[in-house]
């Protein structure tokens, strides 16, 4: 067996296991003596190794209890348990608590919270219902702009106290007649000045409202209705109780729907406002006529520009 020339201290262990001091070669003995004091120390170490190897403890004395094995195996099983079972166990514990009597407070709080949330959601959805539906075209009835809202005729106005005495009714009838006359006069003048709107004029009583001036004609119609209503009231004046009529002698003058339409009040009951209104209407009619004239001019120029003959003539001349 080939031996190494150089030994390290740690390699003495190999020599201690294999050979006694007497069996060592010269070079091995020299090497051992460089690290140990001599034979005694070498033999003491060799003896120690022998004793150590022989002094193994009795196997029966050093064996673990069966409970240790059971414990570690249980730890292994618990560690390898599927996670979803743990999750289900937690859910089960939540749904079926052992101490159910202690859960009524949180259960009540949760139920209250759920009720508040449900109510809030229901209110929000009910208030927000219209936007969820499709658009629905609905026909909206619009009151005609110039038509009086209150009924006309024998029924008195609700806003103003109706005239009760005969004198008042007569005065009111006269004023309404003047107003109608003024309106008719204005209308006649307008139609005379604008022959394009109509050539024949009929009597005011039987006036048929022309389509060119609907507003003015309607005023006349309403005024006439007011006059008729006033006449009816005069005929029925005898039936009005005198005592009741005295109570309203100090009341404000009668205001009718036609009066509202014509801006008719006590201050302008003399016809000033009606005249001013007629002047304003005349101005308005003049503006309309001027506008109609400019439109006709534009129409004629457009027809010339679009005439193919004229265009062909101009292009040939060019």
């Amino acid at each position: 067996m080939e031996r190494r020339e150089h030994y390290d201290p740690e390699d003495i262990e190999q020599l201690l296991m294999e050979r006694s001091y007497d069996e060592l070669l010269e070079e091995e003995r020299a090497y051992v003596l460089r690290h140990l004091s001599g034979r005694e120390e070498y033999e003491a170490m060799r003896k120690l190794l022998d004793h150590v190897q022989r002094s193994e403890p009795e196997p029966d004395l050093l064996d673990a209890d069966p409970s240790v094995r059971a414990h570690v195996m249980q730890v292994f099983r618990d560690q390898r348990k599927p996670q979803w079972r743990v999750w289900l166990n937690s859910v089960g514990a939540l749904l079926m608590p052992e101490d159910a009597s202690a859960m009524w407070r949180p259960a009540l709080a949760l139920a209250g919270l759920a009720a508040v949330i449900t109510t809030g959601v229901w209110l929000f959805r009910s208030g927000d219902k219209a936007p969820d539906q499709l658009a629905d075209l609905q026909k909206v009835e619009q009151a005609e702009p110039n038509k009086p809202i209150a009924p006309i005729g024998n029924e008195p106005s609700v806003d103003a106290p109706a005239p009760t005495t005969k004198n008042e009714l007569a005065a009111q009838h006269e004023q309404l007649q003047n107003t109608v006359n003024d309106a008719q006069g204005t209308l006649l003048e307008e139609r005379r000045e604008s022959p394009a709107t109509g050539s024949a004029m009929e009597e005011v009583d039987d006036v048929v409202v022309a389509s060119a001036e609907p507003a003015a004609d309607e005023e006349v119609v309403y005024a006439r209705k007011d006059v008729a209503a006033s006449a009816d009231r005069m005929r029925n004046a005898d039936t009005v109780q005198f005592e009741d009529a005295v109570k309203f002698t100090q009341a404000a003058p009668t205001a009718t729907n036609s009066g509202y339409v014509n801006n008719w009040s006590l201050a302008n009951a003399d016809g000033t406002v009606a005249r001013q209104t007629a002047v304003a209407k005349e101005k308005k009619m003049e503006e309309r006529r001027a506008k109609a004239g400019s439109d006709r001019e534009r129409a004629s120029s457009r027809s010339l520009a679009e005439d193919p003959m004229a265009i062909a003539l101009l292009s040939a001349a060019w």
């Binding site: 201690l16 140990l36 033999e43 003896k47 022998d50 050093l62 064996d63 673990a64 730890v75 560690q79």
Partner: protein, 209 residues
């Protein structure tokens, strides 16, 4: 089902550990049965021959393996890894014991254990007890190296891997530990060794006898 079961006794430690990582309970049981006595003996020697404490430590060690089997590095031999874990547990216990002793010094006179054993014959039980007492006085690393080498029959290479040091360091620790113990246990009669003429087991470097 038993018909399809493989014989786990023929599998290596590393293969069993692979099965443990996959959740094989039988493989874990087989590993426990293989190492329970070795580890119990190791802890018994390292922890002042306290059997109960050694058993607790062995239980803790296998519980750690059961909880985190993936911490095992398959590139290393299982036995080496197992003893390195056990050695670290012992080191921690040494530190805790040091704190305990500082807080409440032991009244027990250690000299009771260091009674000289006189006589020509070698009482193995007495020698073992005396050896354990002397081992407890050593540095923990030297003690663990000695126990692994001569009690657990680990190769020097395996001990080096378990400690994370070179093989030369392991050999040096063994040499000086032997020298120190031989000096402290010199009252044992060397003649008995000569009389028996029993050749020392030719333990090679890889731990085989």
């Amino acid at each position: 089902m038993a018909f399809f079961r493989t014989d786990l006794n023929g599998l290596s430690d590393e293969r069993l550990m692979e099965l443990v990582v996959r959740g094989d309970e039988r493989a874990f049981g087989a590993l426990y049965d293989r190492y329970r006595r070795k580890l119990l003996t190791y802890f018994h020697r390292m922890l002042w021959q306290d059997r109960e404490r050694a058993q607790d430590f062995m239980q803790d060690l296998f519980a750690k393996i059961a909880q985190r089997p993936e911490s095992y590095d398959p590139a290393r031999p299982f036995s080496t890894w197992l003893y390195s874990v056990a050695n670290n547990m012992c080191k921690n216990e040494y530190r805790r014991e040091e704190v305990r002793r500082t807080a409440a010094p032991r009244l027990k006179a250690e000299t009771d254990h260091v009674q000289a054993i006189h006589g020509d014959g070698v009482d193995r039980a007495n020698f073992r007890e005396r050896l354990d007492v002397e081992l407890d006085k050593l540095d923990p690393d030297h003690k663990a190296t000695f126990v692994m080498r001569y009690h657990e029959d680990l190769a020097i290479k395996e001990i080096a891997v378990a400690f994370g040091c070179s093989e030369g360091t392991v050999k040096s620790r063994l040499f000086y530990t032997l020298k120190k113990l031989a000096a402290r246990l010199k009252e044992f009669d060397p003649k008995a060794l000569h009389q028996t003429q029993a050749p020392l087991s030719g333990r090679s470097d890889d731990g085989t006898t």
